[in-house]
Amino acid sequence: MARNAPFLTPQLKLLIVDDSNVIRRRIERSQQIEQLQVVGVASNGAEAIEVFRQTDPDVVTMDITMPEMDGIECVEQLVAMKPQVLILIVSALADKATAVEAMAKGANGFLNKPFSDRQLNEALAELIGGA
């Protein structure tokens, strides 16, 4: 099913928000979920809002700790702009209270850094399939 999925299902647009180049590249490179197509990357919250406006993604992976505007505030704004957007927080779990706070703002899932490619793919599949 995975091979011909793009012809059967419309691709979902993915925006990657993370201030780490390494993480951004890893998500770009390792995401093998064929329903997803990376349409933009951003390294902070303010930039994310800008890219979000331009590309209108369906799925967003979001770091919490970033310069300019942090992920929690960004989640809140993105959900206000597009309530049906699917947001996966990808962040180091230093403090569960912060993570829960981000979820309460409207994120759909949480992936703990560091993560394996398999964990990332499973989380993305669960996000778009099980939401």
């Binding site: 569960k96 829960v100 979820m103 759909n108």
Partner: protein
């Protein structure tokens, strides 16, 4: 995606089965109601009407048959009136009888009218006949008064009214001959018609009755079916309840449901009681359950987390990693004041109904053993890591120094062991034992520090803690020394493992050097082995202690090469203690030194001079110097001297205090801080080889130790 669909098909099948079962029940109920309505509409109501009709018809039939005699009775009454008139007898009674008969017939007709015969042609004929007949009957029946006239001449004669009555009677009798027959036959016809109707109605009623019975049977069957269904449901419900009870009673997880207000449901697993050490959870909220066992912050986060599950946005699987109660440390009162530490794992699952989330299922597990096991594993990993670090550390140490250290230390530990074994008589004996052991252990600690063997340093420091603890006790007995034996054993074991690691390290080194440049083979171990060049390890020690204390120092040495082999070990040990003492007590921290206009790097100088007459080791630091007053205060504080005795001491005697066993101006007990054992050791070591120590100090400027030894001191032997 497909796996998700498959995963979801199960519950859907189940739901559709439940749906069809519910529809079947509804259809049966609807069928029952339709049947009931039909029974009422088609059987009961018509039956009732028919029965009413039947009873009216029967009454009418009875009436009609009774009326058959009436026309004859009227005719007879007419004849009686005529006869009475003829015999001039009293006619009043006969007329009244006629009137009654007429009246009776009239009423019967009126009663027949609403009956089933009311519309029959026969009755209409009777009514016609009767109307005509009445016209001739009424004058007779309505007669009142006397029909006779009395006269003496002719006796009783008909009066004119009597004659009229006679005429009317005759006319009526004439009419009655025809009317009576007609009326009778018409009444008969009415009766026959009624009879016919009653028979038909009865037949219909019978059919209705049979239909009714059939309906009733059907309804009864349905009722019985419902009853059976109900009983079956109840049986299944009881069975399900029992199974639920068995599951909840047996499952090892604490299971319970919470509603949107976080209130705990009425049913929970038995394990929950064991986990929380309480039986009654009714009416409790999750917060109340957790309040005393987890921190406020965790509780607040938990509340928010569970709220996420009640919302629609968060994906249950994708928020599991941020569950704040995934592993939570809880304390329970044992009841005797002590607390029991457990680790609990909470898991939260949505329970969905037709209209979204209905409950959140909470499962609780006691994961204490798992957590402890993981911790143990981590510790053992850390231990392996430490061993590896130690191995790498040992690779840095000159193998000869290391072997010399191991041999010296083993000997010293044997010495301590023998000291421990010597029987002691009184408190004084115990205390001098402690002092001796302290000195030995302190020297080992110094050596270990010099070689960078942190693991040995830590252990010897812990041993010193035990000794310090003994020193502080008012009374001592032999049993108090048992922990020392245990700890000593542990240090011996540790040294053995270092020896093994050292041999592995040596193998590694040898392998690594196979291809390297040829190396001078290690010198044969001798008494002075390990004391070749004591400057680098001393400097390393000074730097380490200084770094620990946040200070900066520089060690300058001179003439150490000239130290005779036989006293090298002693002088090295002495130098270690002097360096340690100077860095800890003498040198100020960099900030203080800057404030005092001193170079922020403290200067330590160690010089060995030899001449024909004497050997001299001079050690000097440019630290804060020694203030005799401080030493006296410390001695008083420690209880070594009374305030009065302290007052009596001059500067020289005051300075001598620093050589007293256990003396220190420091109260801290860091690894390098004042045990008060260093200088005590120095004095003893120097004395042992026949030397003397002198101190010169200027507060705020310097402290200098001069150790003077006779030229031939080696014969006196080194301290063990």
């Amino acid at each position: 995606m497909s796996s998700i669909d498959r995963a979801r098909s199960g519950p859907q099948d189940h739901m559709s089965r439940r749906w069809s079962a519910r529809m079947r029940d509804r259809a049966a109920t609807a069928g029952f109601l339709v049947l009931l309505v039909a029974f009422i509409g088609l059987v009961l109501v018509p039956g009732y009407r028919l029965a009413n009709q039947l009873s009216a018809d029967t009454a009418a039939l009875k009436l009609a048959s009774e009326q058959r005699g009436q026309p004859v009775a009227i005719a007879k009454s007419l004849l009686a009136v005529r006869d009475r008139l003829g015999s001039r007898a009293f006619v009043g009674q006969a007329v009244k009888d006629l009137g009654d008969a007429v009246q009776g017939f009239e009423q019967s007709l009126a009663q027949l009218k609403p009956s089933a015969a009311g519309n029959s042609a026969e009755l209409r004929e009777i009514e016609g006949l009767w109307a005509d007949y009445r016209k001739v009957l009424d004058p007779v029946a309505g007669f009142e008064g006397l029909p006779y006239r009395e006269s003496d001449a002719v006796g009783t004669q008909l009066s004119s009214r009597g004659r009229q009555l006679q005429k009317d009677t005759r006319q009526a009798i004439n009419a009655s001959r025809e009317a009576t027959d007609h009326l009778n036959s018409a009444l008969s016809a009415v009766g026959t018609g009624l009879e016919q109707q009653v028979v038909t109605a009865s037949a219909t009623l019978r059919k209705l009755m049979i239909t009714g019975v059939a309906f009733a049977c059907l309804l009864l069957t349905l009722l019985a079916y419902f009853q059976w269904l109900k009983a079956r449901h109840e049986r299944l419900a009881v069975e399900a309840r029992n199974q639920t009870r068995d599951i909840l009673g047996t499952v090892r997880d604490g299971l319970f449901l919470i509603d949107a207000d976080f209130r705990i449901g009425k049913t929970h697993s038995a394990a929950l009681s064991a986990l929380f050490r309480r039986d009654d959870f009714s009416g409790m909220t999750l917060e109340e359950l957790l309040r005393d066992t987890v921190s406020e912050k965790t509780l607040a986060t938990t509340t928010k987390y569970v709220q996420l599950l009640w919302g629609e946005r968060a994906n249950e699987k994708l928020i599991r990693s941020i569950n704040p109660l995934a592993e939570v440390e809880v304390h329970f009162d044992r009841g005797d004041g002590s607390r029991d530490l457990r680790y609990l794992e909470f898991d939260f699952h949505r329970v969905k109904g037709e209209h979204g989330v209905r409950h959140v299922l909470v499962s609780v597990n006691d994961v204490t053993s798992r957590v402890l096991l993981a911790r143990e594993l981590k510790e053992s990993q850390a231990k392996s890591q430490a061993q590896m670090d130690m191995l790498l550390g040992l690779l840095q140490v000159d193998p000869e120094h290391l072997l010399a250290f191991l041999d010296d230390t083993s000997a010293a530990l044997a010495q301590i062991n023998s000291v421990l074994r010597v029987p002691a008589r009184g408190d004084g004996d115990f205390r001098s034992k402690i002092d001796e052991i302290f000195r030995e252990m302190h020297r080992i600690k110094g050596d270990a520090a010099t070689l960078g063997l942190a693991s040995v340093e830590t252990r010897t420091h812990a041993f010193e803690d035990l000794l310090q603890d003994l020193r502080n006790r008012p009374q001592l007995s032999g049993n108090d020394f048992l922990p020392l034996v245990v700890s000593l054993d542990e240090i011996l074991g540790h040294l053995q493992s270092i020896r093994e690691l050292a041999s592995r390290a040596e193998d590694l080194r040898a392998n690594a050097l196979l291809n390297a440049a040829p190396r001078v083979p290690p010198a044969t171990r001798s008494v002075d082995a390990g004391t070749h060049d004591i400057a680098p390890p001393l400097d390393a020690l000074a730097q380490r202690i200084a770094a620990d204390a946040g200070k900066k120092v520089r060690l300058v040495t001179a003439g150490l090469d000239e130290v005779p082999g036989d006293i090298r070990k002693t002088l090295r040990d002495v130098a270690i203690q002097l360096v340690r003492n100077a860095v800890v007590h003498g040198i100020e921290d960099a900030g203080t030194r800057r404030g005092l206009d001193k170079n922020e790097i403290g200067l330590l100088q160690l010089q060995f001079k030899s001449s024909e007459q004497k050997l001299e080791l001079v050690f000097q630091d440019d630290g804060c110097g020694i203030v005799p007053e401080r030493l006296r205060e410390a001695a008083v504080r420690r209880g070594d001297l009374s305030p009065d005795a302290a007052e009596q001491l001059d500067t020289k005697a005051s300075l001598a205090l620093i050589f007293k066993p256990g003396f220190s101006t420091h109260d801290g007990n860091g690894r390098d801080a004042g045990r008060g054992v260093g200088l005590d050791f120095v004095l003893k070591a120097v004395n042992a080889i026949g030397g003397k120590i002198s101190i010169a100090t200027a507060p705020g400027k310097y402290t200098r130790f001069s150790i003077v030894l006779p030229v031939h001191c080696a014969e006196q032997g080194a301290v063990a």
